[in-house]
Structure formats: C-alpha cells, structure tokens
Subunit: 211 residues, 2 copies
C-alpha cells in the first residue's frame, strides 16, 4: 500500500480492531496493555513511510498512527514529542539506507566492476526504491535546521562513505559518495530514468582519477 519499508509486514495481527459487540464479559478489546514489543519501532518506520508518501510537511501524529495501525495516543506515548519522532524516523531511514548499501557491497564479487555496479545501484534507488530515496532526502534536509539531528545526519553520510572507501581508497570513496548523493538528488525528481551508461561513466571517471 505504500511501496516503502513494510511497517505492517511482521504485523501478526493483534492490533485492536472492533469485534467488540459480542461477549460483553470477555475482555472488551483484544490485546491492550503491554505486549507488541516492537511497536515503537513500527511507529518510527511508519513515520518514514508517511514521509515517503506525502513529504515531510505533512508528517503528523495522526497520519503516522493511521499508517502504523495504532491509536493516536500510542504515538505520543512512545515519543514524547514530534521532534523525538522525527529523530527516530531519521535513525530508521539512515539505518535502512546504510543497510541497503552494505548489502549491495556484500553482494559484489571480487572481479566486479564497481562503476557498473554503482550505476545499477543508482538506477534501483531512483526506480524501485524511489519512495525510500525520497524519504531519505526529506529527512536529511529536515536535519539542516535541527542542530540535534545534524550529528546523526553526518554519521549517516560517513557510514555511506565508509562502504565506498572500503571498495577503493579514501579520496575515491569520498568522491563516489558525493557523486552518489548528487546523482540521486538530481535524478529522483526527473520524470525519466538516466541511462546506465551515463551514470556508469560518471563513476568511472572518479575511479579512473586514482593516481
């Protein structure tokens, strides 16, 4: 329903939904009180999903609650303020983004061409993973005006760089990270996907520059 991280995927189903009318003696609602241990996480992921779908400027407790399938109060219970929720969403998005790139790197074979593989990665990020990418840039920009989020955003960036540095060397890896950032940013809002050849050539030039 939203094309982004699952949110409800592992949801076994015990999330309260009516069925209240019969059996007036038995517990009125199934599953209240303490259970559902990863609810906090699910809410944070739902926040990312809301941002992916509607953009940062329509992130509200109510939308997140609806997306996560939890009552409104649950969002304010687990996160004392909207700011805290945003911070958690940033962490979740960073975690997901870093995991994605690491998985990509782990999938590389020794002889593989990094430029070509990176180009594939870009095209996937703009294509199939588009909404995730949108959410990531929304959250990243949100950090621009929030000093308490800047550290997390910088760490996110560094983690991405580290993956690319491990594949090449420090200056090259950092340059690849910059190119990746710029390419995603520039292309994620274009109506058409870039050609793989162009993207690949861009990366190749950065790698070739290694003296």
């Amino acid at each position: 329903m939203c094309g982004v991280p699952p949110v409800n995927a592992a949801d076994a189903g015990p999330s309260r939904t009516a069925e209240v009318t019969s059996q007036p003696v038995l517990p009125k609602r199934r599953q209240r009180g303490p259970n559902d241990p990863d609810r906090r996480d699910r809410i944070a992921r739902a926040a990312v999903a809301v941002i992916a779908e509607h953009g940062i400027d329509s992130l509200t407790h109510r939308k997140v609650a609806a997306m996560a399938g939890v009552p409104l109060g649950s969002t304010t219970y687990h996160f004392a303020s909207l700011e805290e929720l945003i911070a958690a969403a940033l962490d979740k998005a960073a975690e997901a983004g870093i995991g994605q790139l690491q998985a990509w790197a782990n999938g590389l074979d020794d002889g593989d061409d990094v430029a070509s593989a990176l180009a594939d990665y870009v095209i996937e990020s703009i294509g199939e993973r588009r909404e995730q990418t949108l959410a990531e840039y929304n959250l990243y920009v949100l950090a621009l005006h929030r000093p308490h989020l800047q550290q997390a955003a910088v760490a996110w960036d560094s983690a991405l760089s580290d993956v690319l540095i491990a594949l090449t060397d420090r200056p090259t890896g950092r340059m690849l990270g910059t190119l990746l950032c710029g390419l995603l940013m520039q292309n994620v809002l274009r109506p058409d996907l870039p050609s793989k050849a162009d993207v690949e050539e861009t990366f190749r030039r950065a790698i070739a520059g290694t003296a």
Copy 2:
C-alpha cells in the same frame, strides 16, 4: 537581520507602521491601496528568507508577512494559496542561485583554474551564503512531492549544468554539476568547513577525466 536576500533592501519605507495616533483627520494609515508595485516579489523573497532561517516546516503566511513587513492579508491577496507562494519562492530561489553561479562564471578570467574557482564557490556557498544554500535545498526537496514543481526544479538544475558545461564540455559539465550538488548537500550541515584542497581535488579529478 537574516543573512539572506535583502527582502527589505530596496524598501523605500512606505510600508505602514503605526504613527497613527495623532492627526485623527488625516488618512489613518499611510500608504494603502495600489502602490508598492513589487510587493508580490518582496513577499516571495520573504518566503525564501523564512525558509532559510527556520526551515520549510515552519513556513506560514504569518511568518512571511512579518518578514516582508506587510499585513497578513497581503500574502493571501498576492498568492491564492500557500502552494502558490511556495512555487513563487522556489522560482525566486532558483533565480537567485542561477544568478549567483552565472556571476561566478562571468567573473572567471581565461586562464583561471576551474577546479580551484569552483572549490572557492563551494566554500562560499557553505560559509557566507550558508542560509541561501539551506533555503535552496529545502525548496528543492519540497518539489519532490509536488509534481507541479518538478519541472521548475529540473529547469533549475539544468540551468546550473549549462553554466558548467559552457566552461568545459557536456559530460564534464554535468559531472561538475552533480559534484557541486553533492558537495553542498553533504557539507552544508557539517559543523566545520571542508578544506579547499580536498574540494578542489574532487573537481579536478572530474575535469582531468576528459579524454
């Protein structure tokens, strides 16, 4: 007062401000009705300034009105909706950003080193012009979830590329544009400025790749 485009710079002063108590016969407020021909533009620039200062998620008619020094009604009179105001702000920011880069390019002498000059440009954008850069990225990201703004954002990007292409060649210019985008994005939220040497080396590698 805000470090960003002037907004009130060319403001000759006829923008109503109190002084009403005396002279009950004379016009109660100076300067109502049709005058102040560039008020619409000033409101749009004020919107950019608000975004630069507080971030996109606190852009409101009221804040813009205060920043522009006009009454609330004036913002809704000149822009039928907030969306229209955002669109105008995006245009203004794009215009300013493009103008800035063009001015930079025009200031180059024939023998100048493009990599070095671009590095200076980056450092200025993150330093002295930091707030303008922040506003630009905020607005750019806002376009991600607004189909009617994507064309403007893409045009903005193309205009920047064109300047860099004119200095080199098509693939190199496009790569420089991507690097510029990525470098600003990555560094504008870091607490410390990057070293000029690093930035310059990055650009140089893109230029050197020209075969």
